[in-house]
Amino acid sequence: MTSSTLDNAWIPPVVDGSAEDGAGSAATRRPPLVVWLPAAIVALLVLVPIGYLLVRAWEAGPAAWESLLRPKTARVVLNSVVLACGVALTSTVIAVPLAWLTTRTDLPGRRWWAAVATLPLAVPSYVGALAVIAAFGPKGALQGLLEPMGVERLPSLYGFWGSLLTLTLFTYPYSLLAVRAGLRGLDPAVEEASRSLGQGPWATFRRVTLPQLRPAIAAGALLTALYTLGDFGVVTLMRFDAFTRAIYVQYRSALDRSGAALLSLVLIGVTIALLLIEARVRGRQGGAAARVGVARQSGTVPLGRWKVPAIIFCGVVATLSLGMPIAVLLGWLLRGRRDQITGLVTAAGHSLELAIATAAVATVLALPVALLAVRWPGRLASVVERTAFLGYALPGLVVAFAFVSIGVRTPWHQTLALLVLACVVRFLPEAVASEQVSLRQVSPRLEEAARGLGSTMTQAVRRVTVPLAMPGLLAGAGLVLLTTMKELPITLLLSPTGWSTLATDIWTASNDARWAEAAAPALVLIGLSLPMTLLLQSRDRGSRADHD
């Protein structure tokens, strides 16, 4: 059952203090120093940016408070929340049928579609935004096609609708992965029970499958909503007045940075509120049914005459979210001035360097946190765990802003170390969630057996637990690697001067409309991310159990 490691890694855990299972007798014991001290230090590290923001807000002058209380702020909040809800909704609408088609039906090329539908994760959303503008924007490819037919103007793409379209196209795979994991977690016998009680396939889906999928759907919607709230690139390119854009403008324009700090805190508050709402929705669901016996693979639903519409649906989604951006980028590269493209290898090297360093550090730092939460649940564990997961609520721009401001006063200003640290804080939850899932699958009895054979706690973890949990650790590392590589605002604000990555190269070149110079690093970035996405996706297959 390790196959679900990745899927769950995307999903923040329920914010709920109840004791976790699998702890056994360890629950009553105090965690050893070698576990709780590093875990507590990691938690403090995550608190650094929030602490900074709080200090800044405390020092804020009346002008900053006044600007926060302006109606414009309320409008920005509303914009962001509506956009986040919209993206969550449209992503779900795309992801649920896609997940069902690729796990439960006789869709031709089911496996292939499952992989293709996950691949848009390899396209950074700001690159996607550039492609969407090029394809559907004013004087874009679509208008070029329609012009002979007398269409002179397309409805304006900029603003809400463009942001919604772009963010949906490039974040729905988060939702897809969550729903697929949920679908595979269902006991097929439950659906069969419904069929034998006289319900047809559609009624069974509506009355049995869908209600049970609710937690997975909520988790997927939450992930896309969180991504949207924290997104900086898309709303900036689409000129939509969302939160992050307002913070960036404040940060760039005002001398006093308290305004940006206050806005950041409001954004964090909105995000935490979202997390709490989701936890409530999931909490009401109640525990999953006790599963005894061996889960079989679910039967395949024949699509019949719906086969062609299903293929068209998958095809349209894949074309828009994968084919379209790659075609646009290739077009730019072929038509543009390729002689201007320089430093591609250096930038790619920097991107990899940053991503690998972040993944390694995050994986190691996440281990004590995950171990504490899984093996010694209690007050300390739940405080540390929740703090570590705050990274989900910290938009990249906010982390970047805090670390820049702190960094200026330290000798680490303009160093790679500070950049890696900021990225670790931002992406730590991905590693922790993934490690928790796989640590839960390692029975504490095995550690106890090792202790009984003379190992110390540390030795037992190193020799037994870590090797057994390795798939989860690697999945978490892979996830951090992928997301760090695509990351924009932290890299943009914290990169040492002259130290460019693929992400920053794409951003600066596209700001100057040097399209060929933006296309080349974008294609390299997608090229580097694709195998990583495929690798993670291939872990996402369910285990098969055979019939009697």
Partner: protein
């Protein structure tokens, strides 16, 4: 009884075949159940019995053969009359091995799931829950129930729509031994009260013997023998059935008419036979008497397992062969004692087969 025989069989399977990845799992299976009857499909794990159940329920398409439920053909793989009704149209209630209760619905909603809405639904749900002794549990969620309670909800849910046939897939395998025995008889009574026809899949011979009206022993994708528990136990059709239903041991012998000469001496046979045979003796068929001066005995007691209600002795015959003998708890025979072994009643003889294992 004549009236019962006029009705079509509640279930009739003819020549069922199912192949997974080239190897047949069910291979020409015939099975029948009369209305109101509880049939146990008994076989070792991997013999295809669950696959057979899933084909009857409609979760698994059949490769060959025909399934008729209450006279209606629900699946037919014959070229001319291809037919495969979806599960929801078969009126078959299924009790799954892990119960498969809907985790998002209360007990009452689980039981009412297969019922048409309306005023009668609530009454039907109440009746169904009362029948399984869970009237006060309507609003519980499945995860707040014990294993035995989940089992009974699953049964109530399957029975509530009054299906033509109830299928139970290893329904007691997830319960602990004590609960299993108690629940078996309860399930039997509930099924009888509902006058339901049921097919139960199990690998537990004791369960099949104590519960079923009729047992079909399944082996290698086929039904080897169908009959009442007594028939199967006392008159197994072949060595495989004899070895699987109850504890069987085989003694090689030479038969002439109704007698066979074996290591135990002359053994009376149930039916006449000739030539080299294997004589089946159940452990409880053996009679041991302590050796005396007149009768020096033909065996030595090797070991003894005491169970309270009875005891199992392992004895070594003079020829070196060992046998098991089941005796009442009260007997002074101890390991090391010399005894005379004889067979009570008549024994069954099977033609000696090459390469078959002698006993379980």
């Amino acid at each position: 009884m004549t009236e019962t025989q006029m009705l079509p069989a509640a279930l009739a399977c003819r020549g069922l075949r199912k192949t997974f990845g080239g190897s047949p799992v069910v291979d020409g299976l015939d099975l029948e159940a009369q209305p109101g009857e509880l049939v146990a499909l008994l076989g070792p794990s991997g013999c295809g019995k669950t696959t057979c159940l899933r084909m009857i329920a409609g979760f698994e398409p059949i490769d060959a053969g025909r399934i008729t439920i209450g006279g209606r053909v629900v699946a037919d793989a014959a070229a001319g009359s291809r037919r495969a009704d979806p599960p929801e149209q078969r009126r078959v209630g299924m009790v799954f091995q892990d119960y498969a209760l809907f985790p998002h619905l209360s007990v009452a909603k689980n039981v009412g799931f297969g019922l048409k809405g309306g005023s009668q639904q609530a009454a039907a749900v109440h009746d169904a829950l009362a029948a399984v002794g869970l009237a006060g549990y309507a609003d519980r969620m499945p995860d707040a129930l014990s294993g035995g309670q989940q089992q009974r909800v699953a049964l109530a849910r399957a029975l509530a729509p009054r299906p033509d046939l109830v299928l139970l897939d290893e329904p007691f395998s997830n319960l602990d031994a004590e609960l299993r025995v108690a629940l078996r008889q309860e399930v039997r009574q509930i099924l009888r009260a509902a006058n339901a026809t049921a097919v139960l899949v199990t690998h537990d011979q004791e369960e099949a013997l104590s519960l079923a009206d009729r047992i079909a022993v399944m082996w290698g994708g086929k039904v080897l023998q169908q009959g009442s528990p007594e028939e199967l136990y006392l008159r197994p059709a072949n060595r495989t059935v004899a070895g699987f239903v109850g504890d069987a041991q085989f003694l090689p012998g030479e038969a002439t008419g109704r007698r066979a000469t074996t290591d135990l001496g002359e053994v009376p046979l149930h039916a006449p036979a000739t030539g080299t045979v294997d004589v089946m003796v159940r452990p409880e068929q053996l009679r041991l008497t302590p050796a005396t001066v007149e009768e020096p005995g033909n065996a030595v007691v090797v070991s003894r397992a005491f169970f309270g209600h009875d005891q199992l002795l392992t004895i070594a015959l003079l020829g070196g062969r060992t046998l098991r003998a089941r005796l009442g708890a009260y007997g002074g025979i101890r390991p090391g004692d010399r005894v005379t072994v004889s067979v009570r009643g008549a024994a069954l003889a099977f033609p000696q087969a090459e390469g078959t294992s002698s006993s379980r």
